[in-house]
Symmetry: C2
Amino acid sequence: MARIKVGINGYGTIGKRVADAVMLQNDMELVGVSKTRPDFIARMAVSKGIPLYVPEGHEERFEAVGIKVSGTIEDLVSKVDVIVDATPGGIGAQNKPLYEKHNVRAIFQGGEKHDVTGFSFNAYVNYNEAKGRRFVRVVSCNTTGLLRALYVINDLYKIKEAFAVIVRRAADPADDKAGIINTLEPSIPVPSHHGPDVRTVLDVPIETMAIKTPTTLMHIHALHVRTEKTPNREKLIEELSKYRRILLVSKDLGIKSTAKAIELARDLGRKRYDIYELVIWKDSITVKGNDIYFYQAVHQEAIVVPENIDAIRAMFEVADKDDSIEKTDRSLSIGDMSI
Amino acid sequence: MARIKVGINGYGTIGKRVADAVMLQNDMELVGVSKTRPDFIARMAVSKGIPLYVPEGHEERFEAVGIKVSGTIEDLVSKVDVIVDATPGGIGAQNKPLYEKHNVRAIFQGGEKHDVTGFSFNAYVNYNEAKGRRFVRVVSCNTTGLLRALYVINDLYKIKEAFAVIVRRAADPADDKAGIINTLEPSIPVPSHHGPDVRTVLDVPIETMAIKTPTTLMHIHALHVRTEKTPNREKLIEELSKYRRILLVSKDLGIKSTAKAIELARDLGRKRYDIYELVIWKDSITVKGNDIYFYQAVHQEAIVVPENIDAIRAMFEVADKDDSIEKTDRSLSIGDMSI
């Protein structure tokens, strides 16, 4: 079977990671990536042998600094089966007509509104519903993290209501424009967008609030979930541990913060210390009657990467849900962090 | 009527603020304060005319650097009607026998366990129950903040259940020992101590979780409160605004973070930029059926100061609840920040 030809529009935080992941799949081919700025990231892409496409009329800016250009973004779109649009939030929607013009499929990120595709994706929750679709939206990092945990809990005990407070990182590690420092900023109005976003994928009643903090590593969520059936703590932990994309850690083993979770990924030699897994503090999981409480952490740069890969396979119907997830996980060493 | 003779044991973050506040009360006299280290804070106390008491045998360490000592800590205890113990958490309990020996009353801070006094205090909630008591514990900053808001809500609508996530500052501004940086640290086990601590004062079902963040200014709480009676948003805001120790702010006026709340206090010329008020974001207050959601911020260094002053008056039964609170508030300009 021919490999699926993939183009990445937007080679930034998410785009470069999805590009790396695509190159690890034996059923996909990375046709090229697009960049709007001739910087070190563009140069590294070319030196790794990745064809680089740029906005029309900008070729000279790249060639001037010795970065080889393979064509325009429209050229890239015309050569692929699917575009992973990893452009900044809101730009994806503007790009959609281009993808339609060339009759290519496209995956958008969580920065776009649900309406752009009418379908939002999480591999665990609705892989099968993505089959055959032309346009799919992979939800944002926080929503992906919430969905993974809520999916498991909902499946076991049926969620009656859920409330999550998202303690957000203010910027990504490489952001050197501006971020808050020594201040906390609540997200107003309430609820934050995360709850409604979860419901575009999984039908559970959830409300969310969010507070921005001066950190760059990961988000942390504090969750309170009330279930219809009475949960059992040991059973819940046992079930959560069956999912490779959920990593149970414990304070007892010294993973008491996001800094330590990242250190684990660094010590494992993960590229860019990426944690694709949702990190749940096992020793925080507390059950009182039908109420479950726990903390989890989300690596905002990485968690959606496997979801993008699975979304491609689902759209082209080249693998069943479990096969795709396993293939993706193996390629990215997801599950190797269990300790 | 003779003034109440007050001694402060522990002239640190809380102690120096309570000392300043005592000096502003016309029914109290600051007899002296204690310090264990001959530093600039000790020198400033003496230069302000505050008699300084030190641990027995340490007099020379202070005199050696030119700081005048008025006696030992036991000397201070023997001269007062009441000690405000503002020593580090856990030390207060060790000091209690000394206060008992000299038959003086004492106020402990939230770093001590409830059992040390068997009675925990918040002026709005249980001023009258403190009357005549020998030992009173003023609850911690976060608990004080939770109590102020929950007291008002409970009074109006009867709280059925409450859940709060406390996004904690990691250190106080003057702390230069060590604090976390660029990391988030969940408080394990769940629940955090705050919920049980609230219940030592106000009988409401509340669960809490907490996450430490690399900031110094204030804590933020994200609250979800479910009430027996159906709340009305406008009525709730109207009632909250009647309490001087609650300051309603809005993002619309630019107070979108803890940094901006502190800037307001600085611009008002508040000493040490202290915010004694609980800060609630008015535009975050959201009512859905019987559920109330909102964010609030707590200035950890200052919020308990008026509570300590009121606790003294309650113990000596020298003023009724409303009179004491009004007197304290006027002396500290509480309420002047309303904008």
